[in-house]
């Protein structure tokens, strides 16, 4: 690499900028999308494959991911499974909200700084609220 002649302006990287909601939801869209793609579709295939395999394989799926009835390592993976499933529902709602934000931006709307920041923040509130509502409904009804 050629040595830059002194005092040239350098391109600032992530840690230089003051973080705003638009930057945060932009990278969250990518992170949640890839999390859903690998962990989410992985679990979806495990679940549907276990369901197709019959009662024993479905029970094994439940034991490893949620119940932990087998004891030992399953207690750990069942705890991890709950964290991952709640995390995936949050990731889904976040990706859904930022995805809709992208559809709105695609038509050329919502680029004003305050509008952009407001709707970016709203996606964060929405994903947390929707995740809380979904799990409250599943666990408390």
């Amino acid at each position: 690499m050629a040595q830059a002649p002194g005092n040239r302006p350098l391109s600032p990287h992530l840690q230089i900028w003051r973080w705003g909601p638009a930057m945060l939801v932009s990278i969250l869209h990518r992170v949640t999308g890839n999390g859903l793609a690998f962990a989410g579709i992985g679990l979806l295939l495990w679940w549907i494959g276990a369901l197709a395999g019959g009662p024993a394989s479905y029970q094994s799926f439940l034991d490893w991911v949620w119940l932990g009835t087998g004891g030992g390592l399953q207690v750990l993976t069942a705890l991890l499974g709950k964290i991952v499933l709640v995390g995936l529902t949050w990731a889904f709602f976040q990706h859904l909200a930022t995805g809709v934000r992208h559809l709105v931006l695609d038509i050329g709307a919502g680029y004003e700084l305050d509008t952009n920041a407001r709707w970016s923040s709203f996606t964060l509130l929405f994903s947390v609220a929707a995740t809380a509502f979904f799990w409250a409904f599943v666990l408390l009804r």
Binding site: R30, G33, A37, L44, A52, P55, L103, V138
Partner: protein, 127 residues
């Protein structure tokens, strides 16, 4: 697309010469997921319990089986497009690009095939 001036020949096309097809399919499958995944979440949440018998008989119903197959096609295709964009942003060496090309052209199709065969088995009363 025009065929006269140079701007007319490239308008709407990127360096891949496929233009907006990838982008458009990403949006199309996004809208599909916007309908299909809330349907899955609501359906699962409304089941009386999640024992094998309950979940299996629910998944075997024609509407549920159809939606599950559509979910497997739609989410996996959407994921493939998104993962491709992510990897294209971060993988720059030639060997890595070949690995990415192999990955995104093999794994999603194998995954979808496994999932769809599973749903068909449930729907047609195997196991």
């Amino acid at each position: 697309m025009g065929n006269g001036t140079s701007i007319g020949r490239v308008r709407g096309l990127g360096s891949s010469h496929q233009g907006t097809h990838h982008w458009l399919l990403s949006r199309l499958t996004a809208v599909g997921n916007l309908v299909l995944i809330p349907w899955l979440l609501v359906s699962l949440a409304l089941l009386p319990d999640h024992t094998f018998a309950t979940v299996h008989s629910w998944a075997a119903k024609p509407v549920a089986s159809t939606a599950l197959v559509l979910i497997l096609i739609n989410t996996i295709y959407h994921a493939r497009l998104g993962i491709q964009v992510m990897l294209e942003d971060y993988i720059h060496d030639e060997g890595g690009k070949v690995a990415v090309w192999l990955f995104i052209n093999i794994v999603p199709f194998a995954a979808a095939a496994f999932g769809i065969v599973s749903v068909i088995r449930i729907a047609l009363g195997g196991a």
